[in-house]
Assembly symmetry: C2
Homo-oligomer: 473 residues x 2
């Protein structure tokens, strides 16, 4: 265990050095939290397919419970139940368009994680940073439970639980609990908990901040403690269901999955769940008594319970949908928490956009009309008035606008069109539009993945660390 | 599948080229036998411990269901449910004594398997060949079901089902079904089925041959067919029990295993089995309703059913013991088949030696007295008279002796003492003499093994082949 503890302490020190200007000390947050004993218990695994660039290098890190797909290098890091997905990595010879630049990719992109500590974090390729297109780095970074590092290279950062950094390069930043950042590039800043911030430098700026006392009712993380609140409990309460599927080497898929759909063998599928054509269910997704219509996708760490999704719906990484009926092409963003009740269902009309990190938690039935955008905290009809708008109204914003705790600057049309463009891209990449021959996406390509398991040294000084493991085509 | 079939055909051709002088064509034997479809189904696995030299390199081979421990390289070979154990490999800096030579080992020994096809074969280190002490090679070799390649480098050979080659270097040889060879070095010979041959060039020569019609009643392998006979059926009938333990990632050991004993998680342990101190139970061992006394060991592919072993008993690789009572320090050699009946138990007195590839199959109770040596086919008291002797009588042989189908030349004393010396070595290496502090062996060192699973490409041209996998300390 010695080497494992030394490694943890070294990582903490390095992150603190990076964050010295912000005066942020990660040490107390790591207390009582670091599951160092658990890190010896769980096997890690990686997926092999003919479709994904194969190249893994793991060097004396701990990888407990983590999953890897695509080209990836992990050196002296601690990854605990993190999913590292590299199935959209750029290929050598392709061209990356950035503003007026056409940048040729001169070697296959890889994910490079060094001296970092990621707890139950989802990492998804690929680097949108024109300065580092071939290397998606996560360096000297600590990331807490259920955070998402999504297309966001990171150096010297601390991410709180349930935070998301999306298409943003970060240097020496602290991202608070349940904050969502999509800002291109950020450096030396500390983002308060419950911030939802989307910025396109020349086009728009969207900012919402949860009131602290409201956020604390859902998720709350203080030094020396584990995260607390119903959002964390909700996930913890369902851990047991995952234990079963991790205990088996192979699991037979339910018969009812169509040939064009993909159901990860590390997903939990409880009874009475219907999976239609072109559906993608990613690892660690949790489906129970729900209907997923054609082309819907259920991404990593999402939960869909007692709900009906009509089709082409997106449930992004960490999204939770309980007792709800969603029309076609509804987007539910990262880590959103949509909780209806058996006697108070939530209805969302078609093509509506639930922004990342939205909390909808109702005691009376609530309907969100079609083609609306929703953000922030919605507990009832009254909240909805200051937390949603028709998309067409939002598109009409030209310069400045505010509603409730949300402030917007710039072009509403370009904001809405960027969102809609991305939704189309996600559906396309996930294979929602597969017609039996063309438009293959993850739902079709991720069907036949071989999973290989790896485990650390079981005892001795190196206990908990993995040997050097190199997997190449 | 294409690449996999090409590889199989290439291996068959290479073996045939090596065996051209013997006029032996392996092709018809491979028909209907090559489980090419099965080779995509099963995961392979390797063990990691702090005690064993870690260094695996697998390159575009198929490894279905195989197990690896220790330093090993497999290049473009097909291994189907083979166990490759390298936990006795020589270490750099040690010295190998051979006759008057003291040979320093100049690098860690490794197992190197190339262009070979091993089906359910057990490979055990280490090379006893003074010409190749650092490299244990298996090249251009095809080996059939339940064969043992034991300390025997091999180049251009074909081994029939249930054959064993022990401490023997082979070049361009054919070893018949159920034959056992321990002969130092052999080259360009064809060994008939049912031969048991033990030779020490300057000291002794032991030769037994099963009559063909007798052997056929137990095991029989002809071109174009799978092996047939009760010996094969016995093993096949118990395959289902293994499927369950291979389906789980981790299995909790039964509580009753003492701290000084080692129970492999890939062994089958059926109810009412007692495991005492210092017992070693290897992978793919099968224990049912049996009592294993202190220091006994149950090696790979052995079956111990409704039997009692008093302690310090050795059940070598592939040994089968059914309805039998064994006194202390009874040795049961490779692939021996000891079958008593519920109403006709077999009793073996202490310190008796059941030679490798002995078949004892009785319908009336039978007792083998202590300190006896037994070989060949024993179905009743009458057979026993020409298939056994007191060890002291055997030791008295000075030049030449024959009994039944057995011929012996040389010094009986040196033959018996070589056997006894080896039995002590096996007990010592397996940890039978561990006293709580000293004399650790496999039983103590193999306790905490982490198992990592690996799988082939699930589809495409490379279907069934494994990527390049390198595991280093």
């Amino acid at each position: 265990m010695q080497a494992l503890e030394k490694l943890r302490d070294r990582i903490i020190q390095r992150v603190n050095i990076n964050l010295r200007e912000l005066g942020f000390d990660v040490t107390p947050y790591m207390h009582e939290l670091t599951p160092i004993k658990q890190m010896v218990k769980f096997y890690a695994f990686y997926g092999i397919t003919p479709h994904h660039p194969l190249n893994f290098q793991f060097t004396h890190s701990n990888l407990a419970g983590s999953y890897f797909l695509g080209r990836c290098r992990v050196t002296n890091s601690l990854l605990y139940k993190s999913d590292i997905r590299g199935d959209e990595l750029k290929k050598e010879g392709s061209v990356f368009q950035f503003q007026q630049f056409e940048i040729p990719i001169n070697r296959d992109e890889h994910i490079d994680i060094e001296d970092s500590f990621l707890i139950k974090t989802l990492v998804h390729n690929y680097s949108h940073d024109p300065e580092t297109l071939e290397k998606f780095f996560i360096k000297d970074t600590i990331s807490m439970h259920y955070a998402n590092i999504h297309g966001s290279p990171s150096d010297g950062c601390f991410l709180g639980p349930f935070s998301t950094v999306d298409l943003t390069t970060m240097h020496d930043c602290v991202v608070g609990t349940f904050s969502y950042i999509q800002a291109g590039e950020i450096s030396h800043i500390k983002v308060d908990p419950g911030t939802v911030w989307i910025r396109s430098s020349d086009k728009f700026n969207f900012l919402y901040r949860y009131e602290k006392n409201h956020l604390d009712n859902y998720i709350n993380f203080t030094a020396g403690n584990r995260p607390k609140g119903p959002l964390f409990d909700f996930v913890e309460d369902r851990k047991k269901d995952f234990e079963q599927i991790f205990a088996m080497v192979n699991i037979d898929p339910p018969r009812s999955v169509p040939g064009s759909a993909s159901l990860d063998r590390y997903a939990v599928i409880k009874p009475h769940t219907n999976i239609s054509e072109n559906v993608l269910v990613a690892q660690r997704a949790y489906l129970q008594n729900s209907w997923l219509g054609k082309g819907a996708n259920a991404q990593e760490n999402c939960y869909i319970i007692n709900s009906r999704l009509e089709g082409f719906d997106i449930t992004a990484h960490g999204g939770k949908i309980i007792e709800a009926d969603l029309g076609k092409k509804v987007f539910v963003g990262f880590n959103s928490f949509l909780r209806g009740r058996p006697d108070a269902r939530l209805t969302v009309g078609k093509e509506s956009i639930i922004m990342p990190h939205t909390i909808i938690d109702i005691s009376d039935p609530l309907t969100i009309p079609p083609n609306h955008i929703v953000w922030g905290l919605v507990r009832n009809k009254h909240d909805l008035e200051t937390s949603s708008m028709p998309l067409s109204d939002f598109s009409a914003i030209e310069k400045k606008f505010s509603l409730g705790n949300m402030i917007f600057e710039g072009s509403g049309a370009s904001f809405v069109s960027a969102l809609q463009h991305r939704i189309e891209h996600i559906l396309e990449a996930n294979g929602a539009f597969f017609n039996g021959a063309e438009n293959k996406g993850h739902a079709q390509k991720n069907q036949s993945i071989s999973f290989n398991t790896i485990q650390p040294y079981p005892m001795g000084k190196l206990k908990g660390l993995y040997p050097s493991i190199i997997i190449q085509p």
